[in-house]
Structure formats: C-alpha cells, structure tokens
C-alpha cells in the first residue's frame, strides 16, 4: 500500500519514546454546569484499536469529541504526539487525526467522489485547493470502501450501509494516522455492521490507530485490541477484551446479569444476558 509522506514519518517514529499517540491528561468535559467527564486520564499508543464502551450518557461520545479537538475541555488537556492539541493549528491536527461524528449531514447533491474529496481539505491552502496526493488518496479511499464504481453516484441515492462507507471514504482520504469513530455502525443492518468493522480492523492492521465508540460489546471485543469501559464520566476498566469483559463488570456497569462465554470462532468474549426474573 502506498502511504503518504506524512504517514511514513508517523510510522517511522512509532517506536521512539516521546509519547507518540493520543493522551488525555486530567480531562474534565461538559456542556453546561455539571461535568460529563471528570478528571479522566487515558493514553492511546500508535497502532492500537481501542473500543470505548459504556452505558448511554456515560460520556464516551463527549470524550471522543475532546480527543478529536471538537470540544474544548473545561480543564485538563489532550496531547497529540506529545503536544497540546489546542496549541496546534486546526489544519495541522486535521492532517494527523480524523473524526467521524455520529450523524453527519449529507450536503445536497454531492457525489461520492466529492464527499471523499472533502477529506482533503486540511491538505490544501486557499490558492492550492488540489494537492498532488489528492488523486491517489481519493482513489485509494474509494477502493478500500468498495465504492470505486459508485464514485459519481449522488450520496443521497445510496443505501444506509453504502452511505456510511462513503463517510468512511472521506476520513480515509484525509490520510491521518489516527481515526476516531463515534458509533459508526448505528442504523446499519448486521451484515453492514460487520462489513464496516472489518474495514476499520483492516486499516488498523495496515498501521492506522483506530479509536471507536461502540455499543455492541461482542463487536467491541471481537475487533478491538483494547477495551476502555466508561461509567458516569470515568474509566472503570481498561485492558484486553479477555481481561476486561467479565459477567461481574457487565452487571456493575450496565446493570445486566449475564454469562460471558468465548466466541466459538474467535474465542473473544461474548455476552449472553440472563432472562429477566419477575
């Protein structure tokens, strides 16, 4: 695979000890008076596939927004490769880190290719709105998402699964070392959910760091190399899916009694809820 120059630099520096990756330091986040996330520390190394899970309202999406520089912390800071994310120019950050939010709006009459091309914005300037890498980056993003033959189709005409792939193509065209995904599989049928997660797992194997907020614990355990479990604005468990995902934890965090059994195919943990006793 032909990586961009930026990415080659990123990977070459991967094993230097200067805090490469994303790091949250004593992060307090919120929208109004009451904080949603309080005093949170988290370190994500390059090359990881981290799934953030937790009950509704636990602050996982809020955390992702702060990691992606979209939400300003009330206190604390986020470091990208050792430097405060707020002290860097926004386009500079956007060349290293991409965020796919939960419900992006599809602009009127946009084609799949134009949508993917918007991911190139941080690589452009006012007078140079086309960089030599654009053609390769957009073409590659469309190939990887399987949309190459739908490139000139309006996004509005795509099915839900293809539409989500088109958004994925946009952040792939951005060619960042780190990709943040906020519940990318919501509203997709089960086949398209696995399809999309396989795509991100594949990107992870090719060297990208992936951080995803996911709802489905089995999917999180199957695809991620590390689970971060949040509850009420704090990290309550952090480790490999095998270590973290226990019946006790699911009961404590989600209030659900269950058995945890190994997946017969991948031997990653599967959650089997108990029937409710009346």
């Amino acid at each position: 695979m032909n990586q961009t120059a930026t990415n080659e630099k990123t990977f070459a520096a991967a094993d230097t000890p200067t805090g490469r990756g994303l790091c949250a330091e004593r992060l307090t986040l919120g929208y109004g008076a009451a904080p949603v996330v309080r005093d949170l520390d988290l370190r994500i190394a390059e090359g990881e596939f981290v799934a953030i899970v937790g009950p509704n309202g636990c602050g996982k999406s809020t955390l992702l927004k702060a990691l992606g520089r979209v939400l300003r912390p009330k206190s604390g800071r986020v470091l990208l490769h050792g430097r405060d994310i707020r002290a860097q120019r926004s386009k500079e950050v956007a060349r290293q880190l991409a965020l796919l939010p939960q419900n992006p709006a599809v602009p009127e009459s946009i084609t799949v290719r134009s949508l993917a091309a918007r991911g190139r914005y941080p690589h452009h300037t006012l007078l140079r709105q086309w960089s030599p890498d654009d053609e390769a980056a957009i073409g590659e993003a469309l190939e990887l998402t399987g949309l190459a033959d739908r490139a000139d189709t309006p996004v509005e005409a795509l099915s839900g699964g293809q539409r989500q792939r088109a958004w994925a193509a946009m952040i792939l065209a951005q060619r960042t070392g780190i990709v943040l995904l906020d519940e990318p599989t919501t509203f997709l049928d089960i086949a398209h959910q696995y399809d999309l997660l396989e795509l991100f797992a594949d990107l992870n194997r090719r060297g990208r760091t992936v951080v995803a907020v996911l709802h489905d614990l089995a999917q999180a355990a199957r695809f991620a190399s590390r689970l971060v479990v949040m509850d009420a604005g704090r990290v309550v468990a952090d480790g490999t899916p095998g270590e973290v995902l226990t019946a006790d934890l699911v009961h404590r965090v989600f209030g659900l009694r269950c058995d945890v059994v190994p997946d017969p195919r991948t031997s990653t943990p599967l959650v089997i809820p108990h029937e409710r006793r009346r």
Binding site: S90, V93, I110, R118
Partner: protein
C-alpha cells in the same frame, strides 16, 4: 475507473483551483444571457437606443437624447439591477448554506425588511444624519439578532426560523409604513420604494454603492466558499477537518447581512431573489456547496429580467420591480413550504 482529477485553474505551481465543469458551462451561458438582457434593457421601447446604434452610442457616438437615456434613465438602472441581483443571490447562497436550509434565506427570515425599515428611518426621519446604507445595515443586523433571539435555538431549526422571520418581517414592514406615512404621506412612489423595492430613478451613486460592496466582499467570499461547504456536513465534521464552524458561520452571516443591506439601501427590500437564485443555481450546476458564482449570476439575471418586464408591462406604468418578484417568488415560496413540510423538515 474514471480519473479523479477535475479540470483545474493553474497559475504556475502556486495556484491550483479545481473547477466544476457544469458550473463553468453555466457561468458562460449565464454571462451570455446577462449580456442579452442588458442589451434588451437599453434597446427596447420608445426611448430605447436601437440595437444597431447601441455599440456606437456606448463608445461615445450618441445623440443628446440617447446620452440622456443611457446616462440618466436606463444606464444606472441597469447597472444597479445587475449589482443588486448579484448581491441578493450571494447573500441568499451564503445564508441558505449556513442554515442548512433552503428556507433560511434573508428575504424569508425578515432580514431585507429590517434593512428596509432602517433605510426608511435613515432617509426620511434622519436625513443627512445617518447615511442610508448605514441605516439599512443597522436594520438588517437588528432583524437577524431579533430572529436569532426569538427562535430560542439560534438559526438551527427551520420551522422556528420561518415563524420568527415572518414576525420580524411584519414588524419591520409596519414600522416602515409608519415612518413613510408619517413623513412622506403624499409620495406613493416613496412608499413603494421602501416597502416593495424599486429600480426606477436610480443614479450612478446607487450603482457605485452596490458595486463597491460587491467588489469589496468578493475576496472574502472566495476565502469563505470552501469552509461554508464543509459546514453543510455539520459543525463537528467541519471542526475536525480544520475549518472552524462557528467562525465560518459568523463570517458568512455577517457578509450576508452586509450584502443584503447594500442591496436594500440602493433598491429597497426586493423579495425572493435571495430565495430563488441559489436554488436555481443548484439545479443548473448540480454541484454541492454554496455555488456562489452561479448564484450571483442567476440573481443578476432574475432581477434584470424582472425589471425589464415591469418596464414594459402593458397596464401598469412604473410598477415597482419588487412587486413582480414578490408575485412570482411568492408562488415559489408556497411550493417550497409544501415540499419541506412533506419531507418533514418543518
């Protein structure tokens, strides 16, 4: 697979701007149509300069009567129509894009009527104290702030935006009528100018005002076109791509207010050019984003044609052009309301 490289405007290695082929084609066609409409404006009717003599008359070889028509009657009127139409088209394209809403147009949400009220107040109640364009600007800004405050959700929710806009427009129109009837009771034409918008009896001073504003805002518009397009995908995505959504929105709304106020200060609150021009432009180009250039050209063409129509309308001599755009645009607004309601947007 077809190549991903679009046609490109290049200047050495410093400038590379991708061009959208359909937009380019329509830009050329609209320029040709504008030329034809301009020639028709100068040539038609009893006072018109006959087409074969037009080129000569424009290059200095004109009879005194022709000079009067070109210099005093139709020349300034045409130039004001072109600039005002372009300004209204641009203001509408920016505002509709930023509100992510085809109904979020300056003339639907009361901005133009606020500017009209400000202009009327400046011209009639405080003549010589407050320049008319400044009055229009303050009126437009006040209208936007009122609408933003009245919705309770800023400029996000289309339905609330329209309801608040109708209220603000009605108040502004009532205020305008009050000022005009208190201070210029005898002049129906003055009332028409401030309530509906008209292009009759325009001077070169008006032409200079509107074109100066269009020229000064053009570089800012060029810089804003791409961030505005990114904003259409939602604030979070625009922010994460490195284009600050809040700053883009503030700049775009400010520019839209300035352009609308300039248009209103030279021609009154002409309705529905801002609403229709960007949407006609979108249908022509089928391009995403705010379509600024084509919206400006469509706005100029719509207003020039509407003014041409009222100048030669058989039964109503001196009909204000604003009444024509109101009548035609009102039908379109109705159609749009029904469509958006069916789509569940409202």
């Amino acid at each position: 697979m077809r190549s991903a490289r679009p046609p490109m405007l290049r200047v050495g290695s410093a400038v590379a701007l991708p061009l959208h082929p359909r937009s380019l084609l329509w830009t050329l066609l609209l320029l040709a149509a504008l030329l034809a409409a301009a020639a028709a404006t100068l040539c038609l009717g009893r006072l018109g300069v006959p087409l074969p003599e037009l080129a000569g008359a424009l290059t200095g070889d004109a009879s005194p009567a022709q000079t009067f028509v070109l210099n005093r009657l139709r020349g300034p009127r045409l130039v004001v129509a072109l600039g005002t139409g372009a300004a209204l088209g641009l203001a509408g394209a920016l505002f509709q894009s930023v509100t992510r809403n085809p109904l979020g147009s300056p003339d639907v949400i009361g901005l133009n009527w606020g500017a009209g009220a400000g202009a009327a107040l400046a011209a009639l109640a405080l003549p010589g104290v407050v320049p008319v364009p400044l009055g229009a600007l303050l009126g437009a800004a006040a209208a936007v702030l009122l609408v933003t405050a009245a919705t309770g959700t800023g400029l996000r929710h289309p339905g609330r935006l329209i309801v608040a806009g109708i209220g603000v427009a009605a108040m502004a129109a009532a205020f305008t009528q009050f000022v005009v009837s208190a201070l210029a009771r005898d002049q129906a034409s003055v009332l028409a100018a401030y309530v509906n918008g008209t292009l009759s009896a325009r001077s070169w001073e008006h032409a200079l005002t509107i074109w100066l504003v269009v020229a000064l805002t053009t570089p800012l518009l060029a810089a804003l076109a791409r961030p505005v397009a990114l904003n259409e995908m939602g604030d979070e995505l625009a922010d994460s791509l490195g284009a600050s959504a809040a700053r883009t929105r503030t700049s775009a709304i400010t520019l839209s207010v300035v352009l609308s106020a300039a248009a209103v200060s030279v021609a009154g609150p002409i309705a529905f050019v801002s609403l229709t021009a960007p949407q006609i432009a979108r249908r022509l180009t089928r391009a995403s984003g705010p379509n600024l250039v084509v919206s400006a050209l469509v706005g100029a063409l719509v207003l020039t044609l509407a003014d041409l129509a009222v100048q030669h309308f058989p039964f109503a001599d001196g009909l204000p052009v604003g009444i024509a755009t109101l009548a035609v645009g009102g039908v379109y607004l109705g159609f749009l309301l029904v469509r958006e309601w069916r789509r569940g947007v409202l």
